[in-house]
Protein backbone atom coordinates (compact mmCIF):
# COMPACT_ATOMS: atom_id res chain seq x y z
CA UNK A 1 0.00 0.00 0.00
CA UNK A 2 1.65 3.30 -1.04
CA UNK A 3 2.04 5.98 1.60
CA UNK A 4 -0.22 8.83 0.32
CA UNK A 5 1.85 11.64 1.89
CA UNK A 6 5.09 10.31 0.43
CA UNK A 7 3.38 9.81 -2.91
CA UNK A 8 2.11 13.43 -3.06
CA UNK A 9 5.62 14.67 -2.30
CA UNK A 10 7.05 12.48 -5.01
CA UNK A 11 4.55 13.73 -7.56
CA UNK A 12 5.11 17.36 -6.61
CA UNK A 13 8.88 16.87 -6.84
CA UNK A 14 8.42 15.28 -10.26
CA UNK A 15 6.28 18.18 -11.44
CA UNK A 16 8.69 20.83 -10.15
CA UNK A 17 11.98 19.24 -11.14
CA UNK A 18 11.34 17.01 -14.12
CA UNK A 19 8.47 18.53 -16.11
CA UNK A 20 10.32 21.84 -16.89
CA UNK A 21 13.12 19.79 -18.51
CA UNK A 22 10.96 17.76 -20.92
CA UNK A 23 11.91 19.71 -24.05
CA UNK A 24 15.64 19.53 -23.24
CA UNK A 25 15.35 15.77 -22.65
CA UNK A 26 13.59 15.29 -25.97
CA UNK A 27 16.15 17.36 -27.85
CA UNK A 28 19.12 15.59 -26.29
CA UNK A 29 17.51 12.17 -26.81
CA UNK A 30 16.96 13.05 -30.47
CA UNK A 31 20.60 14.12 -30.80
CA UNK A 32 21.79 10.88 -29.20
CA UNK A 33 19.54 8.47 -31.04
CA UNK A 34 19.10 10.40 -34.31
CA UNK A 35 15.63 8.99 -34.57
CA UNK A 36 12.37 10.42 -33.22
CA UNK A 37 10.80 7.07 -32.28
CA UNK A 38 13.96 6.00 -30.45
CA UNK A 39 14.10 9.37 -28.73
CA UNK A 40 10.53 8.93 -27.48
CA UNK A 41 11.37 5.53 -26.03
CA UNK A 42 14.54 6.88 -24.43
CA UNK A 43 12.71 9.82 -22.82
CA UNK A 44 9.99 7.47 -21.58
CA UNK A 45 12.68 5.27 -20.00
CA UNK A 46 14.30 8.33 -18.46
CA UNK A 47 11.04 9.67 -17.01
CA UNK A 48 10.14 6.32 -15.44
CA UNK A 49 13.62 5.95 -13.94
CA UNK A 50 13.46 9.55 -12.65
CA UNK A 51 10.04 8.94 -11.13
CA UNK A 52 11.29 5.88 -9.29
CA UNK A 53 14.47 7.61 -8.10
CA UNK A 54 13.14 11.07 -7.22
CA UNK A 55 12.79 10.27 -3.50
CA UNK A 56 16.55 9.88 -3.34
CA UNK A 57 17.31 13.03 -5.36
CA UNK A 58 18.50 16.05 -3.31
CA UNK A 59 16.81 18.51 -5.69
CA UNK A 60 19.96 20.30 -6.78
CA UNK A 61 20.71 20.65 -10.51
CA UNK A 62 17.71 18.67 -11.80
CA UNK A 63 18.83 18.98 -15.44
CA UNK A 64 22.23 17.43 -14.69
CA UNK A 65 20.55 14.67 -12.69
CA UNK A 66 18.10 13.92 -15.52
CA UNK A 67 20.80 13.99 -18.19
CA UNK A 68 22.82 11.45 -16.22
CA UNK A 69 19.75 9.19 -16.02
CA UNK A 70 19.18 9.67 -19.73
CA UNK A 71 22.78 8.79 -20.49
CA UNK A 72 22.57 5.57 -18.44
CA UNK A 73 19.27 4.64 -20.07
CA UNK A 74 20.86 5.27 -23.47
CA UNK A 75 23.85 3.09 -22.58
CA UNK A 76 21.54 0.24 -21.55
CA UNK A 77 19.57 0.55 -24.74
CA UNK A 78 22.82 0.71 -26.71
CA UNK A 79 23.57 -2.83 -25.62
CA UNK A 80 20.57 -3.89 -27.63
CA UNK A 81 21.27 -1.83 -30.75
CA UNK A 82 24.22 -0.18 -32.51
CA UNK A 83 25.25 3.25 -31.29
CA UNK A 84 23.97 5.55 -33.95
CA UNK A 85 25.93 8.41 -32.49
CA UNK A 86 29.00 7.09 -34.23
CA UNK A 87 27.34 6.67 -37.61
CA UNK A 88 28.05 9.79 -39.64
CA UNK A 89 25.85 8.71 -42.57
CA UNK A 90 22.80 8.42 -40.35
CA UNK A 91 23.67 11.77 -38.82
CA UNK A 92 23.82 13.36 -42.23
CA UNK A 93 20.51 11.86 -43.31
CA UNK A 94 18.83 13.15 -40.16
CA UNK A 95 20.26 16.60 -40.69
CA UNK A 96 19.15 16.60 -44.31
CA UNK A 97 15.66 15.61 -43.17
CA UNK A 98 15.64 18.22 -40.42
CA UNK A 99 13.60 21.30 -40.98
CA UNK A 100 15.78 24.31 -40.29
CA UNK A 101 14.10 27.04 -38.30
CA UNK A 102 14.56 29.78 -40.88
CA UNK A 103 12.89 33.01 -39.81
CA UNK A 104 11.17 35.32 -42.26
CA UNK A 105 13.79 37.99 -41.83
CA UNK A 106 16.67 35.67 -42.72
CA UNK A 107 18.33 37.29 -45.70
CA UNK A 108 19.84 35.60 -48.73
CA UNK A 109 23.29 36.41 -47.37
CA UNK A 110 22.39 34.77 -44.04
CA UNK A 111 21.22 31.69 -45.93
CA UNK A 112 24.50 31.45 -47.82
CA UNK A 113 26.43 31.90 -44.58
CA UNK A 114 24.24 29.27 -42.89
CA UNK A 115 24.85 26.92 -45.82
CA UNK A 116 28.61 27.36 -45.48
CA UNK A 117 28.43 26.70 -41.72
CA UNK A 118 26.28 23.64 -42.32
CA UNK A 119 28.71 22.26 -44.87
CA UNK A 120 31.62 22.82 -42.48
CA UNK A 121 29.63 21.20 -39.66
CA UNK A 122 29.00 18.10 -41.79
CA UNK A 123 32.73 17.75 -42.38
CA UNK A 124 33.52 17.51 -38.67
CA UNK A 125 34.48 14.15 -37.15
CA UNK A 126 31.45 12.57 -35.45
CA UNK A 127 32.74 13.08 -31.89
CA UNK A 128 33.18 16.80 -32.48
CA UNK A 129 29.81 17.05 -34.20
CA UNK A 130 28.07 15.36 -31.25
CA UNK A 131 29.37 18.03 -28.87
CA UNK A 132 28.55 20.94 -31.16
CA UNK A 133 25.07 19.52 -31.46
CA UNK A 134 24.55 19.21 -27.70
CA UNK A 135 25.86 22.72 -26.94
CA UNK A 136 24.84 24.83 -29.95
CA UNK A 137 21.68 23.07 -31.11
CA UNK A 138 20.35 21.65 -27.83
CA UNK A 139 21.59 24.52 -25.64
CA UNK A 140 23.41 22.48 -22.98
CA UNK A 141 26.17 23.89 -20.79
CA UNK A 142 29.65 22.31 -20.93
CA UNK A 143 28.94 20.46 -17.64
CA UNK A 144 25.62 19.13 -18.96
CA UNK A 145 27.13 17.98 -22.26
CA UNK A 146 29.89 16.23 -20.25
CA UNK A 147 27.22 14.46 -18.17
CA UNK A 148 25.41 13.25 -21.28
CA UNK A 149 28.55 11.97 -22.99
CA UNK A 150 30.27 10.67 -19.85
CA UNK A 151 33.47 12.62 -20.55
CA UNK A 152 35.30 15.30 -18.51
CA UNK A 153 34.26 18.94 -18.95
CA UNK A 154 37.74 19.69 -20.28
CA UNK A 155 37.17 17.21 -23.11
CA UNK A 156 33.88 18.89 -24.03
CA UNK A 157 35.57 22.28 -24.03
CA UNK A 158 38.55 21.28 -26.13
CA UNK A 159 36.52 19.29 -28.68
CA UNK A 160 33.93 22.03 -28.98
CA UNK A 161 36.45 24.82 -29.39
CA UNK A 162 38.47 22.83 -31.92
CA UNK A 163 35.28 22.02 -33.81
CA UNK A 164 34.26 25.66 -34.08
CA UNK A 165 37.80 26.64 -35.10
CA UNK A 166 37.56 24.12 -37.92
CA UNK A 167 34.24 25.59 -38.98
CA UNK A 168 35.76 29.06 -38.78
CA UNK A 169 38.76 28.03 -40.94
CA UNK A 170 36.45 26.39 -43.46
CA UNK A 171 34.40 29.58 -43.69
CA UNK A 172 37.58 31.47 -44.42
CA UNK A 173 38.56 29.12 -47.23
CA UNK A 174 35.18 29.56 -48.90
CA UNK A 175 35.41 33.35 -48.64
CA UNK A 176 33.54 34.09 -45.43
CA UNK A 177 34.92 35.67 -42.30
CA UNK A 178 38.27 36.44 -43.82
CA UNK A 179 40.73 37.22 -41.13
CA UNK A 180 41.51 40.91 -40.88
CA UNK A 181 44.14 40.48 -38.23
CA UNK A 182 47.71 40.69 -39.47
CA UNK A 183 49.41 37.25 -39.24
Amino acid sequence: MPDPVRSVTRERAFEERVVPELDVLLRVATSLTRNVAEAEDLVQDTLLRAYRAIDRFDGRHPRAWLLTILRNAHKNRGRRRPDLMRDPDTATRRMEAAEPGVSAETTAMDRRFDGAVEEAFERLPSKMRAIVELVDLDGLSYREAADVLGVPVGTVMSRLHRARKRIRRRLETVGYAERRRTP
Binding site: S7, R10, E11, F14, E15, V18, V19, L22, D23, L25, L26, R27, T30, V36, A37, A39, E40, D41, V43, Q44, L47, L48, Y51, R94, M95, A97, A98, E99, P100, G101, V102, S103, T106, D110, F113, D114, V117, E118, F121, V132, V135, D136, L137, D138, S141, Y142, M157, L160, H161, R164, I167, R168, L171, A177, R180, R181
Partner: protein, 101 residues
Amino acid sequence: MSRDRQRRGRLTCREVGRKLQAHLDGELDPTEAEAVADHLGSCADCDFEAGVYRGIKEALRRRRPSLPDETVSWIRELADSLVRGDTTDAGGGSRGGESSP
Protein backbone atom coordinates in the same frame (compact mmCIF):
# COMPACT_ATOMS: atom_id res chain seq x y z
CA MET B 1 38.13 50.92 -10.06
CA SER B 2 41.77 51.94 -9.53
CA ARG B 3 44.19 52.27 -12.42
CA ASP B 4 46.27 49.35 -11.02
CA ARG B 5 43.26 47.06 -10.91
CA GLN B 6 42.33 48.06 -14.45
CA ARG B 7 45.80 47.16 -15.61
CA ARG B 8 45.74 43.81 -13.80
CA GLY B 9 42.36 42.97 -15.30
CA ARG B 10 43.42 43.82 -18.85
CA LEU B 11 43.80 40.81 -21.14
CA THR B 12 46.00 40.37 -24.17
CA CYS B 13 44.56 39.39 -27.57
CA ARG B 14 46.06 35.91 -27.14
CA GLU B 15 44.34 35.47 -23.76
CA VAL B 16 41.06 36.68 -25.18
CA GLY B 17 41.47 34.26 -28.10
CA ARG B 18 41.67 31.39 -25.61
CA LYS B 19 38.64 32.54 -23.62
CA LEU B 20 36.49 33.84 -26.45
CA GLN B 21 34.37 30.75 -27.15
CA ALA B 22 33.74 30.06 -23.46
CA HIS B 23 32.74 33.72 -23.13
CA LEU B 24 30.22 33.45 -25.98
CA ASP B 25 28.90 30.22 -24.43
CA GLY B 26 28.33 32.04 -21.11
CA GLU B 27 30.79 29.72 -19.37
CA LEU B 28 33.15 32.30 -17.84
CA ASP B 29 32.81 33.59 -14.30
CA PRO B 30 31.58 37.20 -14.10
CA THR B 31 35.03 38.70 -13.51
CA GLU B 32 36.57 36.93 -16.51
CA ALA B 33 33.55 37.72 -18.65
CA GLU B 34 33.86 41.40 -17.79
CA ALA B 35 37.56 41.40 -18.64
CA VAL B 36 36.85 39.77 -22.03
CA ALA B 37 33.97 42.16 -22.72
CA ASP B 38 36.20 45.15 -21.87
CA HIS B 39 38.86 43.92 -24.29
CA LEU B 40 36.30 43.35 -27.06
CA GLY B 41 35.03 46.88 -26.56
CA SER B 42 38.45 48.32 -27.34
CA CYS B 43 39.98 45.83 -29.84
CA ALA B 44 38.51 45.72 -33.34
CA ASP B 45 40.35 42.50 -34.33
CA CYS B 46 39.12 40.48 -31.36
CA ASP B 47 35.66 41.98 -31.69
CA PHE B 48 35.63 40.83 -35.33
CA GLU B 49 36.56 37.28 -34.21
CA ALA B 50 33.80 37.39 -31.61
CA GLY B 51 31.34 38.37 -34.36
CA VAL B 52 32.43 35.42 -36.53
CA TYR B 53 32.03 32.90 -33.70
CA ARG B 54 28.72 34.44 -32.68
CA GLY B 55 27.59 34.08 -36.31
CA ILE B 56 28.62 30.41 -36.33
CA LYS B 57 26.71 29.73 -33.11
CA GLU B 58 23.62 31.50 -34.45
CA ALA B 59 23.77 29.66 -37.79
CA LEU B 60 24.02 26.32 -35.98
CA ARG B 61 21.15 27.28 -33.70
CA ARG B 62 18.98 28.12 -36.73
CA ARG B 63 19.46 24.64 -38.17
CA ARG B 64 18.04 23.07 -35.00
CA PRO B 65 15.18 20.82 -36.12
CA SER B 66 11.83 21.49 -34.50
CA LEU B 67 10.42 18.68 -32.40
CA PRO B 68 7.30 17.07 -33.89
CA ASP B 69 4.15 18.37 -32.08
CA GLU B 70 2.89 14.83 -31.74
CA THR B 71 6.03 13.75 -29.89
CA VAL B 72 5.98 16.76 -27.59
CA SER B 73 2.33 16.19 -26.63
CA TRP B 74 2.85 12.46 -26.11
CA ILE B 75 5.77 13.06 -23.71
CA ARG B 76 3.76 15.75 -21.89
CA GLU B 77 0.86 13.32 -21.44
CA LEU B 78 3.24 10.71 -20.09
CA ALA B 79 4.71 13.24 -17.62
CA ASP B 80 1.21 14.39 -16.61
CA SER B 81 0.17 10.82 -15.88
CA LEU B 82 3.22 10.44 -13.61
CA VAL B 83 2.39 13.75 -11.88
CA ARG B 84 -1.12 12.38 -11.24
CA GLY B 85 0.48 9.26 -9.78
CA ASP B 86 -0.99 7.14 -12.54
CA THR B 87 2.02 4.85 -12.79
CA THR B 88 0.20 1.84 -14.24
CA ASP B 89 -0.68 3.78 -17.37
CA ALA B 90 2.67 5.50 -17.59
CA GLY B 91 4.59 2.28 -17.37
CA GLY B 92 2.38 0.60 -19.92
CA GLY B 93 4.93 0.67 -22.73
CA SER B 94 5.84 2.92 -25.59
CA ARG B 95 3.65 4.15 -28.39
CA GLY B 96 4.88 1.32 -30.54
CA GLY B 97 3.57 1.59 -34.09
CA GLU B 98 2.34 5.15 -33.56
CA SER B 99 5.87 6.53 -33.38
CA SER B 100 6.88 9.16 -35.85
CA PRO B 101 9.27 8.10 -38.60
